[in-house]
Symmetry: C2
Subunit: 116 residues, 2 copies
Amino acid sequence: MNVDVFQTLADPTRRRIVEALKGGELAVNDLVAQVDIQQSGVSRHLRILEEAGFVQVRPEGTKRLYSLRPEPFQELDAWVTGYRGLWEARLDRFGQALERRRKARTAHPKPEEEPP
Amino acid sequence: MNVDVFQTLADPTRRRIVEALKGGELAVNDLVAQVDIQQSGVSRHLRILEEAGFVQVRPEGTKRLYSLRPEPFQELDAWVTGYRGLWEARLDRFGQALERRRKARTAHPKPEEEPP
DNA sequence: CGTCAACATTCATGGACGTGTATATACATA
DNA sequence: TATGTATATACACGTCCATGAATGTTGACG
């Protein structure tokens, strides 16, 4: 997590890797198939993504399965939250109180419906 | 808006400018006072931010007042929303319904409390 | 142990980019 | 018009970085 979140996401190839991992963990070769650069480049991008906290590795045999980690996305979400006042009608102290109550509500949702 | 949102935000100086504009519109010299680079650099960053849709200009006499625009932040918010499932317990159709109800609520808040 | 597959790392290179210096443009005011 | 202030642009320079090619490393399996 030493590197910057935005700088890590600035590269389009890294974003393609991240988006490919949205569906679940993938091996390096699977990512090479989706991103049109060399395998060495994919490994380097994965290293950068790992140092930035975006991905984690899990060795499985001779393969290494990469998957996403939530922390940097949460950080990004927190950052953009500071600018929601630009397009939401009211995000003053009253609106923030509402927001806090919503967070508390969605953090402990009542299981009133079935998962599909 | 031709340039990439993440690439625009990758530069720390540009983020400082954006954060300085959170309080409202500012002239270029006001930003130069907050960012420790030359005035020419600030103007260049403002041009990049303008081309990316982050800021808009309003001439006032010999000054030019820059202010934030919501679109790129909304775009960023929409992007990170695609990854909320990583840390929220459930963001399936049920959770999205909750989310939609919250949005409808905060869009028309009843003035039932005083701001702290 | 030898071999193959999967992946990581090193090295060299070209291009993009942020910065400072200097100069240009626009506006206001006397 | 002349002068000063506010901002934008042109140019040159150094640095960072994404990429490909080549090589190194690790694990599975005969």
